[in-house]
Symmetry: C2
Subunit: 113 residues, 2 copies
């Protein structure tokens, strides 16, 4: 059994790895328009479980940075805020995607050994 | 041209993605014994440039968490501190490796679309 401080180190490292990946996954998924709940479902369908407490502040942060645009839609129930990648967001995604591919290749090589 | 806040958002996301990956890469590389400089070189040879200011505090943090062991070696020049994965570190690497593989698979799928 690993010690508590070791388990904690594994957990915090894992959170670090996940955090950046969630941003990338959210941007990639928002090439199509989504509201919060439908985005969470789409990420979950892809195999990525993201809590509301993580996702909703992230959406606001990405919109604040100009990577997302949003609009309200008034339907039958509660008004929904739909988000989608902005043109700047598309450029950002492209840049991050290139970097991520190289990084993933390096790590795959290391971890295969 | 992207706006300053957008460039900043890209940069901070990228730093987040890199941060967790560097920990994983350092652990994987430290299956063999290294001192600080030789580890930096090994990471660089693998395509990952990590500054001393990032790597040295990381080594101390991972040792403090029990994932690394270290020993001093007195050679002809300055004494060198050699680090290597501890048994707990090996267990941690195995766990992180499994998680990372799944995550990388999910992201590759998303980013290929």
């Amino acid at each position: 059994m690993v010690k508590a401080r070791t388990a904690e180190a594994i957990d915090s490292t894992w959170q670090e790895i996940r955090r950046g990946s969630i941003v990338l996954a959210a941007l990639a998924t928002l090439r199509e328009e989504h509201y919060g709940y439908s985005l969470r479902q789409a990420l979950l369908d892809s195999g990525l479980e993201v809590s509301e407490g993580t996702l909703y502040p992230l959406l606001r942060r990405l919109e604040g940075a100009g990577l997302l645009g949003s609009r309200w839609e008034l339907g039958e129930g509660r008004p929904r805020r739909y988000y989608r990648l902005s043109p700047d967001g598309e450029a950002a995604l492209e840049e991050l995607r290139c970097g991520w591919r190289k990084l993933a290749e390096v790590l795959s090589g290391m971890l295969a050994r």
